[in-house]
Amino acid sequence: MRKILKIAQREFAETVKTKTFILGLVMVPFIIGGIIFFTSRISQGKGGPRPPINVAVTDLSSEIFAEAKNGSFYNYNKSNPDRQILIHELRAGEDPNAIENEGRNQLRQGRLDVYMLVDKEILRGSGEIHVYTYKPKPSNVDLLWTVENLFRNAVVNQRYKLQNLSAELMDKLRNVAIERVEIGSGDREDRVQSEGDRAAKMMVPFFFMYLIFMGIVGMGQHLISSVIEEKGSRVIEVLLSAVSPFQLMAGKIAGLAGIGLTVVSLWAGAAYIAARWQGLSVEITGELMLYFVVYYILGFLLFSSLLAGVGSICNTIKETQGLMMPIMMVFIIPLLAWFKLVQDPNGTLARVLSFVPPMTPMVMILRLAAGSEIWIGEILASIAVLGITVPAAMWAAAKIFRTGILMYGKRPGLREVGRWLKSS
C-alpha cells in the first residue's frame, strides 16, 4: 500500500509540473468562458461589416414598396452603415410574368442578391410575398431573415393604416412587461430573475457533466502519456524490479484521480464564483457534490484502466490514437445528447444511457443536476453497474499492462491481446 501511495505521490507531483497540465488547467476555463462569451455576443449582436446587398422588389399592390424603402429599410440602413441593404423597384409592365423572368435573370447574373414579388392583394390578407434567391451563401441566410422581417414590418404598417390604426399605439398595446421572481424559503429571500438565470438553469447540468468529461478524459491523456514516457525511457523495468505491475498501474491511476479531483474542484469553484459575480443564482446541494465525487472516481477508474491497457501496448502517442477513437466516441454521445437529456431527464434515452458503463457517470450527474426526482434504487443500481464494471476492467487492464509494458516494437494485434487475457 505504501508503494502504491508513493507512486501516486510522484505521479501527482510530476504531472502537476508539466507544461501541458498547467496550460490545460488555465486554458480550459478560458476556452469555455470564451465560447460562452462569444456565442452570446454573436447571437444577440451585430456581425462585422459586409458589402451591401441588392434587393429588387416588384410590387404588384403598388402600396408596399415606398413604405418599405422609406420606413423599415431606411431605418435599418441608418443604424447599420456598414451592412447596407440596397432596395430598388422593378416595375411591372403589362405582363407580370415578364418582370418575374427579368428578376430571375438578374439573380442568375449576380446583379441581384434577393428578388421579391409582392402579390396584389397582400394588404387585404390574401396573396403572398415571393422571395427568390439564386445559390444563396450559408453566410447570407440570416440576412434573408432580416430582409423578410423588414419587409413584413412594412406590410404590417400598411395594414394598420388601412384599418386606421396608429403604429405607435399598436406597439404600445403589444408591449407587456414581465417580472420573474423566484421566491426563497423565507419571505424576504425573493429574488428577481434575469434572462441569464433561466439560461444558467439549463447550463448547470451541462456544466457538471462537462466537468466529469474533462476530469476523466483530460486526466486520461496524462495517464497515457505517462505510461508511454515510462516505456520510452525504459524506466519501466527498473520500476518492476521494485513493485508489481498492478501496484504500478494502481499508483498511477490513484495519483491522476487525485489530480483530477483537485482540478475539477478548482474549475467548479471558479465557475461558481464567476456565476455569483455575474449575479446568477446557482444552487448546488451537498447531495449532488457527494454523487459527483462517487461518479467521478468510478468513471475515472473505468476510463483510466482502459487507457492503461491501451498505453501499455503502444510505443508512441500516435499509435494510441487509433485505439482511443472508439473509446472517445462513447464519451462524446452524452455531450451531443445533453439538450435532450436535460429536457427529459427521466426519459427512455436518459435511462438507457445511465446503464451503459462508460457513460453512466456523465449521464447520471447530468440527470441529478437537472433536478429530476430519481428513485434512489436507480442511482444505487447505476453505481452497482459501475462497481462491477470497474474491477472487471481493472483486472483485464492489469493483465494487458503486465505483458504490454515490456513489449517494444510492433504493436500487438487484438487477437494477441486476447490471448494475454486468457493466460494466467
Binding site: K3, R234, V235, E237, V238, L240, S241
Partner: protein
Amino acid sequence: MDAVVLNSVNKFFGEVRAVDNLSIRVPAGSIYGFLGPNGAGKTTTLRMIMNIIRPDSGDIELLGDRSIDRAKSRVGYMPEERGLYRKMTVAKVLAYFGAIKGVSNAELAERVPRWLERVELSDWADKKVEELSRGMHQKLQFAVTAINEPELMILDEPFSGLDPINTDLLKNIIVEMRREGKTVIFSTHVMHEAEKLCDSILLINKGRAILNDKLAQIKSRYKSNAVCLEAEGDTDFIERLPMVTAVQSENNRLEITLSENADAQELLKALVERVRVQRFEVKVPSLHEIFVSLVGSSNAEDS
C-alpha cells in the same frame, strides 16, 4: 544457503526456446557470473528471477522465498534496458526508487547522500537526470539499484558503456559488497570481467547451460598440458625428453606440449639441471578460450 535457486525452468517466446530446462543454484555471499553470447537467454533468465516475466514451467526461489514479489525489496535489479525519469533531479530519483523499494524516509535522508558520494555524483545531486552524461547516468542507475542495500544484487551487463575508471569504481563496490556477505549476480559477454570478479560462473548458449561451476574448478578442468618456457642455454634436448610430445619456438620462448599423463613438475626438475630457467608457466586457458571453444562446439553440434 542459496540466494537463488532455479529448478528446470523453461521459457518459450513463440516457437523459440529462450531458456531450456535451466537449473542453477547461486550460493549466498558469492559473485556469480552469467556468461554467454548475445541472445543466449541471460536477460530472460534474470527477468524471470525478478518475476518480470514468468517461466512457462519450472520454479524459482529467491532468497529462500517462493513469492518473488515478497522478496523484491531485498533485491536490487539493474536491467539491461536502463532508464530513469529524465525530468527529475538526481537526488529525487534516488529517493523515489528507495521509497518504492520500502526504505523509510529517515533512512533515505542518510542513504541518498552516502550513495551519491559512493558513485561520485554528489555534485550533481540537484541536476536533472537528462543533464547527466551516459557514464554518470549508469552510475546513478547503479546507485538506484543499491539504494535499498539489498542482500542480492542482480546486474544485467553492468559495465557496458563505462570507461575503465568508472568500471573499476563499480567493480570495487561489487567486491566490497561480497565482503559484506552479499550476493551479486551479473551478466556479461566480456570474459575478462567475469574472470577477475566471479567465484562461480554459468555459461549459457541458446538457453542451455553448457558450463556451471566454481571458476577455480573450471580452470583446473580445462587446464591444457602446455607449458610456456623462457630459458638461457641450449634447449635442444627438450624435444628428446620422454614426457614431451612437441616443442614450438618463438624467439627465446618455447611452447612445450606434454604427453597425456606427464607432470609439469618433472619437466621443471629436468630443466633446472641443464639450463637457467627465467620463466616457467603451466598454461591455464583463459575463460575467453573456454568460452569460444565451448560455444563454438555447441553451435557446431546444432548445425
